[in-house]
């Protein structure tokens, strides 16, 4: 059975600039496996080092989010469209933490100097 995988703009440079690719697959996981075998550079952007889908990578079969189906074991049928949809996140949180750590380290150093 043939399924079509839609590739989002940020990943097209790693897939020969294609916006979609077709594979014969029985599950979503199988289709994504074929995709990352054909375009190896995609793997690190879709999966973590231990092979799990990254949290900001959303995969839909037709209009259904696979998180609410059987995740990567979600079965596919002939003609299905699998879409990879980015979600976007960021912020200064770890930045803030590291700055606080630097501030704490500095405060400690100053205290230490004063104390010595």
């Amino acid at each position: 059975m043939t399924v079509k995988v839609m590739i989002p703009s940020p990943l097209r440079p790693f897939a020969g600039k294609r916006d979609s690719a077709e594979f014969s697959a029985r599950t979503v996981g199988e289709a994504l496996g074929h995709l990352t075998t054909q375009f190896g550079e995609l793997r690190k952007h879709l999966f973590t080092e231990d092979g799990k889908l990254r949290s900001f990578v959303n995969v839909y079969v037709n209009d259904e989010d696979i998180r609410y189906l059987a995740k990567e074991n979600t079965p596919t049928k002939d003609g299905d469209t699998i879409s990879i949809i980015p979600s976007i996140a960021g912020g200064c949180i770890q930045f803030c933490h590291s700055e606080r750590s630097e501030e704490s380290a500095l405060a400690f150093e100053i205290d230490h100097r004063i104390g010595s």
């Binding site: 940020p10 980015p86 960021g90 200064c92 930045f95």
Partner: protein, 162 residues
């Protein structure tokens, strides 16, 4: 993408990003950058030797920060928001070429958290907002190996937004 990249944006749109950061302070603002990217086109369509910019922002799509739990230091754009932004871009003959967000009371440089969650190819504009007043604005692209961001030049152009 490892090569130095440059982003063109009008002064008017740059000002809108800064104003959005001031408006949502002390929370982070976020939104999509809609524009054109000639590098996304096949080689034959690019027009060799043409002076077209590689990437130009022509419209903004401001979004609501979905992080209710920690909006001061995180932002989140859902898949549904991304689809909405892509639809808005298509309707104007544009595409989503990046995202912007603010760093309230922190510098305009990406955090580890930004890098962990970034996609390649997109431009990520960050505006620093100090005590409610927008300051530096920078743009970044994730390197292909995901190890770090590279700074992207911002060229302010004097032309009206579409």
């Amino acid at each position: 993408m490892a090569d130095a990249t440059e982003l063109w944006i009008s002064g008017q749109l740059a000002e809108k990003i800064r104003a959005h950061g001031a408006e949502t302070y002390p929370h982070e603002c976020c939104g999509a950058l809609l524009g054109r990217d000639s590098t996304a086109l096949p080689e034959i369509d690019r027009g060799k030797g043409a002076l077209a910019p590689a990437r130009e922002i022509l419209q903004l799509f401001p979004l609501v920060n979905r992080r209710d739990d920690s909006p001061r230091n995180r932002f989140s754009v859902t898949a549904e928001d991304v689809l909405e932004a892509e639809k808005a871009a298509r309707q104007q003959g544009l595409e989503v070429v990046g995202w912007y967000h603010s760093h309230p009371d922190h510098p305009a440089r990406p955090s580890e958290y930004d890098r962990d969650h970034a996609w390649p190819w997109y431009s990520y504009i960050i505006v620093s907002v100090q005590n409610g007043a927008p300051q530096d604005m920078t743009s970044w692209r994730l390197n292909d190996d995901r190890a770090e961001f590279s700074p992207e030049g911002i060229e302010i152009r004097h032309r009206a937004a579409v």
